[in-house]
């Protein structure tokens, strides 16, 4: 089974999953414009309820917004985007919205969600699983890779997604050093193209069949869909 561990609720999502041969997906609200995340989260929940066997909603929140913690009570998981929503991921106020469910963090953005900043939050909440997008770094020179590896080493409760990671040696290094259970396939659709993103796992010469199965789906089922009976 293939699970896309991060997608966004836009028109065409299910068709894109079908085109890429993806079975299930975590779905998050895109950046809310003109309304709050309470409304955006409701829309995502409605979308997912129409495809309960395929789509799993994660709630998005701006931790600095009034009443933020109350808006995400009961969520299956959280999605935080410090760059788009303008907060520092290790700001103390973020602690209030972390309540034990998995937290996906848009990672690698300068000043607000660098790998070591995400690691600070993960260190404060050792019982919570944190999922860093983009291999915990998003830099076309590979300049963030060392900090991503340091963060993975320091935080056993941190895993990283494959989204947009062009460096095959980095993905292989994460698996070789920390195990395949620390890497999750994700496309961040529609930001990245699932047809390309899947190849980063499927064509990587160093991954054996068990590692591929873990990265493409089993890890997401275990870490993100664990309360799910479907």
């Amino acid at each position: 089974m293939i699970v896309d561990a991060l997608t966004f609720a836009h028109d065409g999502l299910v068709a894109a999953l079908d085109a890429a041969g993806v079975d299930r997906a975590v779905v998050c609200p895109p950046r809310a414009r003109g309304h709050g995340y309470d409304i955006a989260n409701e829309r995502v929940a409605e979308l997912c309820s129409a495809h309960p066997d395929r789509l799993v909603p994660f709630a998005r929140v701006d931790p600095l917004a009034p009443g933020a913690a109350s808006h995400v009570k009961g969520a299956r998981g959280l999605f935080l985007h410090p760059w788009e929503d303008a907060f520092r991921i290790n700001d103390p106020e973020v602690d209030a919205v972390v309540d034990g469910v998995p937290v996906i963090v848009a990672t690698g953005y300068p000043f607000v969600s660098e790998a070591l900043q995400v690691a600070e939050l993960a260190r404060r909440h050792p019982e919570t699983t944190f999922v860093a997008t983009n291999g915990a770094q998003i830099n076309i020179s590979g300049l963030g890779q060392d900090d991503a590896l340091i963060a993975l080493d320091a935080c056993p409760n941190l895993v990283v997604q494959t989204s947009g990671v062009y460096r095959e040696d980095f993905l292989e290094g994460v698996v070789g050093r920390f195990g395949a259970e620390r890497l999750l396939y994700a496309s961040a659709w529609p930001r990245f193209d699932p047809r390309l993103e899947l190849l980063r796992v499927q064509w990587a010469p160093a991954f054996d069949a068990a590692a591929r199965e873990a990265i493409l789906g089993a890890n997401a089922v275990r870490l993100l869909l664990r309360s799910d009976s479907g």
């Binding site: 076309i140 020179s141 947009g164 062009y166 095959e168 990245f192 193209d193 047809r195 390309l196 993103e197």
Partner: protein, 246 residues
Amino acid sequence: MIIDAHLHVDDIPALGWKLAAGDCVRRLDEAGIEKGVVMTIVDAPEVNRQALELIAEACAAFPGRLEAFARIHPWYGDESVALLERAIGELGFKGLKLHPVTTIAHPAGEDTLRLIRAAAAHRAPTLFHCGDEPLTTPFAIARAAAACPDATIILGHMGGYFHVEDAIDAAERHPNLVLETSAMPYPAKIREAVERLGAERVLYASDGPACSPRIEVEKVRLAGLDAESERLVLGDNARRILEAVR
């Protein structure tokens, strides 16, 4: 014929990186690619005085498979220019590669422009690392394109993750800019670039061997170009640029 316009050969013990010419050729073979352009990770004369020799030896070990670009640090004035002249004039290199993150030299600084012009005198292109970091953004490199209208300037990674639209905009304004696809993760942007600039101005590359040339070729195919455009992007454009060097 497919040509990969951007691969690396180097040996940097401090980083634990050893990128061998044989690794490049093996990965080209996996992807059905006839020829690759190789360059070092660091620059001559510093931090590697032997950077040109390292690349020349790599190309000599695989005749007909590898072409060379010279990474040269712009700060060294006459010495930098002499290194470039030796690379192109004596060693048969086909271009100049600049990575301003490693050199802290602005793309439109006088030292850099002097090197770009020296390469252009041989009709040799200058490949810039073009991503999201200061000194490497499309509009910074566009200043060099404006200052050196006779030089072919290639935007490697065509703007990285967050500057791809800027790269296409800059190339629309400066006809001597060429976009190079390596690592940039959006197939649809390759198609947009071809539609807005013409297929002659988009160049396939992988940034291998740490990146997969095979996946990077598939990325171009996912762009859904017509057959003629795809042929230009995957190989004919690079061949035309390489063959023009004298």
